[in-house]
């Protein structure tokens, strides 16, 4: 096990810079998830850590040692790829034993380690099979097994679950979590799936356009997003983000209506573009105006999901989503009052995208 550190890490392809000097420090035994949309630089950062991409500038440290110029095989890391990257011409056993073979591990020890890992992952009956004779989930487990037998200092996962169906993904997520708990190896996990990020991570790193927007626990990035991007990216459905203006007296103009936000924050006095954010679950539908923290709208679409119901409401030209109790049965086309839980709302500067609350 080891710590990992990025110091001003930069990656450039020709004249295009895709990672802009990021700094990140990963604790020993931590499960860190890099999350962000396609092209945000998360996979590139992971591949630089693996040694599969050269570092343009900056430093990568594993433990105390700088590894910029160290060959991938000498970094003592193991990686699980999106497409599993199992050797098709070898059995499951050989796939798992392969790397140990090239590290001059004694045959008996290889056997012991492979059998032990196969037992943990439930692969023992499959050891003689070829990868193409396995299901997607089994292949994924073999890919993990191959990483585990190495007993590396750091595990790297590059979107390992994205080729699996939803049900399998959920169960593999659980397995990865349990595995990390029992092995305690420092893990860096890249995904664009925020549910994976939220459920697996000790800390989440939200990346956007080659920069780190926020580092924090899943709760922090969900409840206290530091930028508009993080607010819009984390959560499903995403946070409602509405253009707003300060009225100067602790009220905001949102979608042509006035909202009293004094209990949560003091909006800036000067006249500038703001964005008011509220999560769907922090909106309730009410019949009458009680607190001054309500606005009026028209119900557009109702989606009953079972445990809760999503209500899509048009407020002027803005569209909002509310997540409400399934016992409430809103009717499409009806006018409705949206009651905001101001305590949990957010305010952002529209230009810089930074949180003001």
């Amino acid at each position: 096990m080891a710590t990992v550190e990025f110091r001003n890490l930069v990656k450039r392809y020709g004249s295009v810079e895709v990672v802009h000097g990021i700094n990140l420090s990963i604790n020993d035994g931590e499960f860190l998830v890099l999350v962000g949309p396609s092209g945000c630089g998360k996979s590139t950062s992971l591949r630089m850590l693996a040694g599969l991409e050269d570092v343009t500038a900056g430093e990568i440290l594993i433990g105390e040692a700088e590894v910029n110029e160290v060959e991938p095989r000498d970094r003592d890391i193991a990686m699980v790829f999106q497409d599993y990257a199992l050797y098709p011409h070898m059995s499951v056993y050989d796939n798992m034993a392969f790397s140990l073979l090239y590290r001059k591990t004694p045959k008996a020890e290889i056997r012991e380690r492979v059998m032990e890992t196969a037992e943990i992952l439930g692969l023992t009956p499959l050891l003689d099979r070829r990868p193409k004779q396995l299901s997607g989930g089994q292949r994924q487990r073999v890919a993990m097994g191959r990483a585990i037998v190495r007993k590396p200092q750091v595990f790297l996962f590059d979107e390992p679950l994205s080729n699996l169906d939803a049900k399998l993904r959920a169960s593999m997520r659980l397995e990865i979590k349990k595995l990390h708990r029992s092995l305690g190896v420092t893990t860096v996990y890249v995904t664009h799936d925020q549910i994976e990020a939220m459920t697996l991570a000790d800390r989440v790193v939200v990346m956007n356009g080659g920069n780190i927007d926020q580092i924090g626990s899943p709760e922090e990035v969900y409840h206290a997003p530091r930028t508009l991007f993080v607010a819009g990216f984390i959560g499903s459905p995403t946070m409602n983000l509405l253009p707003a203006r300060s009225n100067g007296n602790s009220t905001l103009s949102v979608a042509g209506q006035t909202l009293n936000v004094a209990s949560r924050f003091t909006p800036p006095d000067e006249d500038r573009d703001l964005v008011f954010g509220i999560r769907p679950e922090d909106i309730t539908l009410s019949a009458e105006d009680a607190s001054g923290s309500e606005i009026e709208g028209l119900i557009d679409v109702v989606e009953a999901l079972g445990p809760d119901t999503l209500v899509f409401v048009n407020v002027g030209e803005q569209h909002l989503i509310a997540r409400v109790n399934p016992d409430i049965h809103p009717v499409t086309g009806q006018p409705v009052r949206l009651n905001f839980n101001i305590e949990k709302s957010h305010l952002f500067d529209a230009r810089s995208g930074e949180a003001l609350s």
């Binding site: 599969l52 991938p72 095989r73 890391i77 990257a85 011409h89 790397s99 090239y102």
Partner: protein, 270 residues
Amino acid sequence: MMLRKQIAIHALLILISVVMLTPIYWVVKTSVTGENLFSYPPTIIPRDPNLFYYVEAWYTVSFVRLFSNSLVIATLVVVVNLLLNAMAGYALTKQFRGKALVLSFLLMSMMIPFHATIIPAYLLTAKLGLLDSKLGIALPALSHIVCILLFKSNFEAVPSSLVQAARLDGLSEWQILTRIMMPLSKPAVATNIILSFIWSWNEFLWPLIVVRSPDQQTMPLGLVSFLASFEDTTGSLYAFCVLVVLPSMLVFLLAQKDFIRGLTSGATKG
């Protein structure tokens, strides 16, 4: 309607097969009967077939020497071809400065017929002191550009994540080539073996120029000297022809399945 179409297609295929196979059949038939082309009445079923002419061919020329010469040269050519072509093909899957230039240079070289370079090739071989030697005969055939390109396209079809996984697993580039790339490119390997073997086995012009002593003669050269030295040897000549062709046919049949996949790889996705 479907049946008629099927019958028509099969009839056509049978006709083509007959046209292709008749000469081969004729050679084999003559080699066991000795009847020449003008014997009357002509027969299709061989009359009184026997292996006499094979025995005669075996003893009239030093068949074992010709055969072993050809075999040693062809084996050398196949092994070195596999090695060089795979290495070159793997290198060409990488990005490096001047790659396009190297590729176009290779393609251009393919356009030049061997006969046009035969004099410089001869002079070069002479300078190396390899005239009249097995290595000298093999030299121009030690790499084939077609096979380099075949390896390149096969290697490119191997997912890059496999190469990266191998790199993380601790394999060197050489080990990635031999342990991952080659086993996953069996069609290319089979195609390379067949083509380089057949080309080397059948090569006539270059050995004719390079070889001086009978000791170094290959099978095709042996066939010519056989023709020149003996008269009225229809049966033995045909028997000798069969023996010349047989090894390349065997090699082809052994690796045929992978060979066809090799030639069509890259034609379709997956």
